[in-house]
């Protein structure tokens, strides 16, 4: 509609000029001339739209998503029916994690082309990212129907059902992914994790091992295998897997952290602390390892040092409920009962049962 009004306006202007320029034209000739002028104007507007669109792609590829959104919007102001501009602007919003805006644009694409696979898939990703899982499932199902050979929608369905704790469905979709592409370790890892959540540790371990048979350099898979071994009660095998993970990636702080936890559970607090040190060296913003190191120091009765680590964990994550519980315990032993009660109260407010229990039992004198 916009473009039509623009063309009409410009056409009138040009027609007037043309009349002034050539009054000898017959009516038929004038009509012909005017139609050509209209075509020229429309062509010019489309070209400008295309130029903006191409600039948008250039900006997107340079990671300048705001600029990309501006260019695609310019293109759409000149040509509101350009599907590609909606799609690419939607992609730009998605890159900026502005999911609602992205969903609007992908929906516009789908109004124009209801079987647009990429728009269905990307809208599903936006909905997944913004937590609208049921709607995301709908999009991925439609995307799967639009292009049945694609692994993406099937994998996302497996992932969503995993997050919804519907592990049987999740296993089904991850199994379908494996049928589509049996050489991808991710699918085995994720299915293994679904088995793990079902407490089917044997199949979980098998899948993790299969993932590693495809690619033995995946630190996170080795870490997951370690955690399953721990759940199976084999702490030593868990430690081996965590070590194996850190051999693959010397900065894989998660495995160092998990190893530290196992060592502390074995009462090896000194060694546990060293492992937490390595985790923190790998990721100085990793609140969990500060919390765990604080817990190890607490067990070694270094209460004030423990409080320092809990402080850091809370600084990094102000809603880290277990760090509040732990700091309260350490503060109590450091003879700071007021501080301890303050921490347990905060933990209670954040939903911790332990915090609530400690506060009620110790802070109502």
């Amino acid at each position: 509609m916009k473009i039509t009004i623009t063309i009409i306006a410009l056409l009138s202007f040009c027609a007037l000029n043309a009349q002034e320029a050539d009054s000898s034209l017959t009516d038929v000739e004038k009509a012909f001339r005017d139609s050509i002028a209209a075509l020229n104007l429309e062509s010019d507007i489309l070209a400008k739209s295309q130029e903006s669109y191409n600039k948008g792609i250039e900006s997107y590829n340079a990671g300048q998503f705001d600029a990309a959104i501006g260019h695609f919007s310019d293109a759409l102001s000149l040509n509101p029916v350009m599907l590609q501009s909606y799609y690419n602007r939607g992609a730009s919003y998605y890159a900026k994690e502005q999911y609602d805006a992205a969903i609007n644009d992908f929906s516009k694409v789908l109004e124009m082309d209801e079987s647009h696979y990429n728009a269905l898939f990307q809208r599903g990703m936006c909905r997944y990212s913004s937590g609208s899982m049921e709607e995301a499932i709908g999009d991925f199902m439609e995307a799967n129907m639009a292009n049945p050979g694609q692994e993406g929608p099937v994998y996302q369905l497996g992932t969503i059902y995993f997050l919804l704790q519907k592990y049987d469905e999740s296993i089904t979709y991850f199994s379908n992914c494996i049928k589509l592409n049996p050489k991808k370790p991710d699918y085995f890892n994720d299915r293994g994790s679904a088995y793990r959540m079902k407490k089917d540790y044997v199949n979980a371990a098998k899948d993790y091992e299969q993932a590693l048979a495809i690619n033995d350099n995946l630190a996170y898979v080795k870490n997951n295998l370690g955690s399953v071994k721990k759940l199976m009660g084999d702490q030593n095998a868990a430690l081996v897997s965590y070590d194996y993970a850190t051999l693959s990636d010397g900065d894989y702080y998660i495995a160092f952290n998990n190893k530290g936890v196992v060592l502390c559970e074995q009462g090896k607090y000194e060694e546990g602390m060293k492992s937490f040190d390595r985790a923190i060296a790998g990721n100085k913003s990793y609140a969990i390892s500060y919390n765990n190191r604080g817990a190890a120091k607490f067990k070694m009765e270094y209460y004030k040092e423990a409080v320092k680590d809990f402080n850091q964990a809370i600084l990094l994550d102000p809603n880290y409920v277990n760090a509040y519980v732990n700091r309260g315990i350490a503060r109590e032993m450091a003879r700071d009962q007021k501080g301890a009660c303050s921490d347990w109260k905060k933990a209670d407010e954040l939903g911790s049962n332990a915090g609530r229990k400690f506060y009620i039992n110790n802070c109502n004198d």
Partner: protein, 696 residues
């Protein structure tokens, strides 16, 4: 093992001896050592003698498990005077150490015992008995056992024989203590500094809500001190306000008098107090009630069947208020035990005969204090017996089906090798108050606050896994729609007309327009037959070739550019075609002559110039120039004039460089009219100059 221990003691003795030789030498209380101060020596010896009397009384009371009263304090009072005169006497240091071990200053004993052994490496075997206690206080249980064994090996005196029950008990304590000390209970034991002084504070009593504390203190008060400078015990209170205990306040009369009062049990609501004081060396349990802000005059708690010549001292209420538990020292062997009495007639204050709580609780050593928990089934008491880790310890026993369970040591650090007594518990079981003569206090017996940590709080470890691959490598691949080629189509309106080059008449010709860059024919149209016009649109910004074709006309071709314009554009292009067909006759309508003459007028040159151009463009073209008139006038003149005019045009053309052999001039007079001579218009048309193409 025994051999090794003996070797160890021999080495110690050697070291003491070696040390003595190097640093210290025993100085006996004899005149040869104090020639300059014989009076001082005499006084010192007198003090030692007095001290010895009290020491002997005290030691005997210990052996008899009787109340040591203030024998050791008095012994020290004298010994310390002699010690000032001569601090380097092994025996006096030993005696002071001995006495200190049975006072609330027992932590000072080691200092004197160490000096004694340095001054005399070969002491009386009793020394090892007391030194074993010193080592026990230092938590050196292994050494303690070594010394007690040495004592057993070497002591052959009657006293040593009398002390057998103590050595047996002592070895039991030392063997059991490490297990207790190495597993401290979950509690802090803090000196309640605000209520303590350098003198003795003891027998804390607390209300169930934990906000009101009553204690007994022997700090200096308004009464007169005794002959050795010690004050009587008075009763004090402290309140828990704003998170801290207030400084203790002497409750004054009638609770605190110049007698030696001791508060022993506070009712759970804080409204009644059990206390005792010695009157003529006899103590009975008394009770005072809080009336408003004042405590009533204490009255005997029990009827006369309980009060005896023996002492009824530390007492505790029990929650049902039908029994009172108390410490009684009136048994045959004289040691203190826990007794209780039940009310028989409340209105007459008649109480049943006191009876022992039983041998599960009472031992052949002293039980020192008792506290009944508000649950009525749990008794906290202090005892030198059971598995004490040294001195008095605090124990707990529970009443199960009418029988007290075996007492349980409350554990370290509530209990220490020193005397730990009393136990006042708050209802929430988080705090308790005890008294102890352990080192680190303000002096003597002090009140300590026990803070129980409760069940161990487990710190929480957090693990993390990256269960989904997409957590590790987030899927952010978003394929974009591709770039588009910019398709800008700028059209130019291309219009014009095709006319005869000479006559300017419209021609219907075929126009073919070709895009020179691609060779593509863009348009193939005919011009209008009536007007010669054509009108079409062409993409701007290109170079075009236009070819115009009309039979009998010279082929027309030219090249032109249409500039790129963003908006409307109109290009006008007229095409003039040159007629070259043999036999074609073209009237030169714009050739004019002077009237009646053959002279060309200047306005004829334009058209004639086009004819020159045509003849130049087509060199093979030959024409006949012909003159024509209307039929007016004589035919002869018309013939002549028409010939002359044809010649005139020929001359002009030759003058313009056209070869004469390509030109023929001929006058036809009025013989070839092309219109009617009957009208002026027809005659005008008939008056003309023509050319006819004769060859090309």
């Amino acid at each position: 093992m025994i051999k090794l221990e003996r070797v160890h003691i021999l080495i110690l003795a050697f070291l003491f001896s070696f040390s003595q030789n190097l640093h210290a030498q025993n100085v006996d209380f004899k005149s040869s050592n104090f020639k300059e101060d014989k009076d001082g020596l005499k006084t010192a010896l007198d003090e030692i003698k007095l001290g010895d009397e009290f020491l002997e009384l005290g030691n005997q009371a210990v052996i008899d498990v009787n109340d040591v009263k203030d024998y050791f304090i008095r012994a020290l009072f004298h010994y310390e005077k002699a010690q000032k005169f001569n601090p380097k006497n092994a025996e006096l240091n030993y005696k002071i150490g001995n006495a200190l071990l049975y006072t609330n200053r027992k932590y000072e004993a080691k200092k004197y015992m160490d000096v004694s052994i340095q001054l005399n490496p070969d002491p009386d075997p009793m020394f090892y008995y007391y030194y074993a206690q010193v080592m026990q206080q230092e938590l050196e249980y292994k050494k303690s056992l070594e010394y007690i064994d040495k004592f057993i090996d070497e002591a052959k005196s009657k006293r040593a024989e009398e002390m057998k029950k103590f050595t047996t008990k002592f070895k039991k304590e030392c063997n059991a203590a490490p297990d207790i000390v190495d597993k401290p209970i979950r509690a802090w034991v803090d000196n309640l500094e605000v209520v303590n002084s350098t003198e003795d504070e003891y027998s804390p009593c607390v209300t169930a809500d934990g906000e009101f504390l009553i204690l007994t203190s022997k700090r200096p008060n308004a009464h007169a001190a005794d002959d050795i400078g010690k004050f009587d015990g008075d009763i004090y209170s402290s309140s828990f306000e704003n998170g801290a205990w207030t400084a203790p306040k002497n409750l004054g009369a009638p609770l605190s008098t110049d007698a030696d009062e001791t508060a022993s049990g506070l009712s759970y609501d804080g409204q009644r107090l059990l206390l005792f004081s010695y009157k003529e060396s006899n103590a009975n349990v008394m009770e005072s009630k809080l009336e408003g802000m004042d405590w009533s005059d204490p009255a005997l708690k029990f009827s006369s069947n309980i009060n005896s010549e023996a002492n009824e001292t530390y007492a505790s209420y029990e929650p049902a208020d039908i029994k009172v538990f108390y410490i009684y020292d009136g048994k045959l062997n004289g040691d203190k035990d826990i007794f209780f009495s039940g009310i028989m007639d409340k209105s007459r204050n008649t109480w049943g005969k006191g009876q022992s709580v039983g041998s599960q609780v009472n031992t052949k050593f002293n039980e020192g204090s008792v506290f009944m928990h508000p649950d009525g089934r749990t008794m906290y008491f202090s005892s030198q017996g059971h598995n004490s880790i040294g001195g008095y310890d605090i124990f707990k026993a529970e009443l199960v089906q009418g029988i007290w369970t075996n007492p349980v040591n409350l554990g370290y650090p509530i209990n220490t090798p020193y005397d730990d007594q009393f136990f006042a518990f708050t209802a929430n079981e988080k705090y308790a108050y005890i008294a102890s003569n352990r080192p680190g206090g303000k002096g003597g017996m002090d009140i300590y606050q026990v803070t129980f940590w409760g069940p161990e709080k487990q710190v929480i470890y957090d693990s993390e896994d990256q269960l989904l691959a997409s957590q590790v490598n987030p899927i952010r691949s978003t394929p974009l729609e591709k770039e588009v080629a910019i398709d800008k189509k700028s059209l130019t309106v291309f219009k014009g007309k095709v006319i005869d080059y000479i006559t300017k008449k419209p021609i219907q010709a075929q126009l073919v327009i070709t895009d020179n860059s691609t060779g593509e024919i863009i348009s193939d149209v005919k011009s209008n037959s009536a007007t010669g016009k054509f009108l079409l649109s062409l993409p701007s910004g290109r170079n075009y070739g236009i070819s115009v074709n009309k039979e009998g006309y010279l082929f027309h071709s030219e090249n032109f550019n249409l500039p790129e314009l963003s908006e409307y554009n109109l290009v006008n292009k007229d095409v003039e075609m040159k007629n070259i067909a043999v036999g074609s006759k073209i009237a030169l309508r714009n050739v004019f002559y002077a009237t009646g003459k053959a002279d060309l007028t200047s306005d004829s040159y334009s058209e004639l110039k086009r004819l020159v151009d045509l003849l130049n463009v087509v060199p093979r073209l030959k024409i006949e120039l012909s003159g024509h008139t209307d039929n007016t006038g004589s035919e002869g003149l018309n013939q002549k004039l028409s010939q002359e005019r044809a010649e005139s045009v020929k001359s002009y053309l030759v003058g313009q460089g056209i070869s004469a052999d390509r030109l023929t001039a001929k006058g036809y007079g009025s013989s070839r009219p092309i219109d009617s001579n009957n009208s002026s218009e027809g005659r005008q048309n008939n008056r003309r100059t023509e050319y006819e193409i004769t060859a090309n």
